[in-house]
Amino acid sequence: MKQVFTRPKSLKQAVFHYCPGCGHSIVHRLICEVIDEMGIRGKTMGVPPAGCAVLAYNYFDVDMLEAPHGRGCAVATGLKRVLPDRVIFSYQGDGDLAAIGTAETFHAANRGENITVFFINNAVYGMTGGQMAPTTLLGQSTTTSPPGRNALLDGHPVKMSEILSHLDGTVYIERCAVNSPARILQTKRAIRKSFTYQIEGRGFTLLEVLSHCPTNWKMTPVESCKWVEETMTRHYPLGVIKDIPGAEKGKKDK
C-alpha cells in the first residue's frame, strides 16, 4: 500500500500543548512539511517567542534558540549574521511581534535581514489568558477590553504586514490563514516561497498567518474558523502584500 500521509520528520514525536482547534499546530506542521520537502532540516534553525509558541522547541526537530519576549528578530539577526548559509526563522505571535517587539521587527525588516518571520496573528494574547493584542479588532471583547476594543481608548488594530511592506529591506510579505484546506495549502506554498527567497539571499520575508483561537475567542473551533473568514479577513485581507522576486540575490550574505 502506498503511504500518502505521515508525520513530517522535522516534527518531533510529542503531544502538542496547544488547545484543541488552535491554529499553531497546523502552522508548525506546515513549516515542518516544507523543511522536509526542501531537505533543509540540518541547516534550518528556529527562534521561538514568548507566548503560546514558547514551547515550540519541543515540537520542531531543528536547532532552536528561544528569544526573550519580542526579541525574535534581534536574536535571529545574531544567528544569521554569524551563520549566513543557515535558514533562520523567527516564529512570533501578535503581542510578541507587533507590541513589545515592534522595534526589533521593524528594524530587522528595514536592514533587510535575510531571515523569515512567521507572524501568527490571532488578535489576542493567548498564553496569558486572552488580553487585548495590538491586532485585536475594533469591538472585539477581550479580558482587557471587556466591552470591546474602543478606538478612542485602546487605539486601532495594527496592520504590521502593510507597515513593513513599505520598508525597502522587505522582499516578500503575504497574509494567509489556516481556517480551511484551501487556505492551509496556500499557507504552505507561502512558507516554501519564504524559505526559497531566504536561501537565494533576497532579504527579509514575513508570512502573517491569521490563526484561530477558539479558547480565548470563546468559540467552538468551527465558529472560530468562520470568524477568521468572515470577520478577521475584512480588516486583514489575505494575499500577497509585497513580492519582489527580482530582488538582488546574495546582498545580505557577506
Binding site: G42, P48, V62, M64, L65, R71, E104
Partner: protein, 347 residues
C-alpha cells in the same frame, strides 16, 4: 611590540578584536561612543559583524543570538543603556551563553549626566536583571588594564559560559594612555555548545523557559555551583603601599587612581596608609579585605557613589566602627588632595 597611545574606549575595541571578538552590536550613548565607532570601522575590516542596533535591548539580544551560534561577542553602553540590556544579560546567564558587556558608567539615577560615576556597582554585582544569577565584573583602573581585562573577559566568559561585564567609567573611557597589548590566548570553547543547525544529527535547543519548578530549581542550583567555583577561583585585587599600613583605603577603578594620589600625600605627612583595589567586583575579593582585619586599625571605603561597595566591605569585615566611608556621587571626581584630607581626618 611597541606601546601605542590610545584612548580607553578605543582600546576595548582593539583588545576585543585581537581576542577574536567577531560580533559587536551597540547603540550610541555618551561616554562610550568611541568604542562603537571603533568597532564600526575596525571589526568589519577584521571580517567580523558590526551592527548599530535600534536600541540597547536589540543589541544585547543580537549578541545573544550570535553567541549561541558560536561567535565571540560584545556589546557596550553606559548606565541608562545598561539598564535596558538587563533583560538580555539575564537571558544569557540563564542560557549559559558567553559574552562581554561593557558599562562605561555615568552619573545617575535616571538619565543623570555624562560624567564619570560609580553608581552602577549594585546593578553590576548583585544581578542587575531578574532572577538568581551573577555576572563576573571586572573593574579596570587604567587604559592598559582595560586592554588586559578586555582580553581576559572573553576567556572568562567562555570558561564559565557566563556574561562578563567590564565596569569602568567615562574617565577611563575618555582618557589616553600608553598601552602594550598582550598576546591573546587561543580560544578554548567546545563546539558542543554551539547551535549551528543539527546537520544529520540530533537537534538541540537553548532556552530560558523551564516551566517545571523542580527542573528550574535544578537549573538554579547548577548555576549556583558554577558561581561558587567562580567565587573560589577568580577574585583579583591589587595592593599599594600596604606593607606597613595601619590605615587601609578600599577603592576601585577611577576612585582607586584618585586614592593612590591621596595616599602619596597622606604618607608625606606621616600617615601609614595603603590601598586595596578590587579588580574583580564580583566575585568580590573578600578574603583579601579580611586579611587586613588584624593589620589595619582603620578602613576608608571611597567610591564615586553614596556607598555601594561599602556593603561588601562590611560583609567581609563585619560592620565595624573602624570602617569609614567617603563618597562623591552624581558624576563628581574628587581631587587626590580632597581625599587626602579625609584620610587625615580619620587617621
Amino acid at each position: 611590540m611597541n606601546k601605542i597611545l590610545i584612548q580607553g574606549n578605543r582600546v576595548i575595541g582593539e583588545a576585543a578584536i585581537r581576542a577574536g571578538c567577531r560580533f559587536y552590536a551597540g547603540y550610541p550613548i555618551t561616554p562610550q561612543n568611541e568604542l562603537t565607532e571603533y568597532m564600526a570601522d575596525n571589526l568589519r575590516k577584521a571580517g567580523g559583524t558590526f551592527i548599530q542596533g535600534e536600541s540597547e535591548i536589540a543589541s544585547v539580544n543580537m549578541i545573544l543570538g550570535a553567541s549561541a551560534a558560536g561567535a565571540r561577542v560584545m556589546t557596550s553602553s553606559s548606565s541608562p543603556g545598561i539598564s535596558l540590556k538587563q533583560e538580555g544579560i539575564s537571558s544569557m546567564a540563564a542560557d549559559e551563553l558567553p559574552g562581554v558587556i561593557v558599562n562605561m558608567m555615568r552619573g545617575g539615577p535616571g538619565l543623570g549626566n555624562i560624567s564619570p560615576s560609580q553608581g552602577d556597582y549594585f546593578q553590576a554585582t548583585k544581578g542587575g536583571g531578574h532572577g538568581d544569577y551573577r555576572v563576573i565584573v571586572l573593574a579596570p583602573a587604567s587604559v592598559q588594564e582595560l586592554a588586559d581585562l578586555t582580553m581576559d573577559a572573553f576567556d572568562l566568559a567562555d570558561e564559565y559560559r557566563n556574561p562578563v561585564m567590564i565596569l569602568a567609567d567615562g574617565m577611563i573611557g575618555q582618557m589616553m594612555e600608553p598601552v602594550l597589548f598582550k598576546t591573546p590566548k587561543p580560544r578554548s570553547y567546545s563546539e558542543k555548545f554551539h547551535l549551528r543547525g543539527c546537520g544529520e544529527g540530533k537537534s538541540k535547543f537553548i532556552r530560558g523557559l523551564i516551566l517545571d519548578p523542580l527542573h528550574e530549581e535544578e537549573h538554579n542550583w547548577k548555576l549556583h555551583r558554577k558561581y561558587k567555583t567562580i567565587i573560589a577561583r577568580e577574585p583579583r585585587h591589587e595592593t599599594f603601599r600596604t606593607e606597613d599600613a595601619d590605615f587601609l583605603v578600599i577603592a576601585y577603578g577611577t576612585a582607586a587612581r584618585v586614592a593612590k594620589g591621596a595616599i602619596k600625600r597622606a604618607r608625606e605627612s606621616g600617615i601609614r596608609v595603603g590601598l586595596l583595589r578590587p579588580i574583580t567586583l564580583w566575585p568580590f575579593p573578600s578574603d583579601a579585605v579580611r586579611s587586613f582585619a588584624g593589620k589595619a586599625s582603620k578602613f576608608l571605603v571611597f567610591e564615586m557613589s553614596t556607598g555601594q561597595m561599602l556593603e561588601d566591605v562590611q560583609l567581609a569585615l563585619g560592620n565595624s566602627e573602624k570602617i569609614h566611608f567617603y563618597g562623591r556621587p552624581g558624576g563628581v571626581v574628587p581631587a587626590p588632595v580632597e581625599v587626602a584630607k579625609i584620610i587625615a581626618q580619620h587617621a
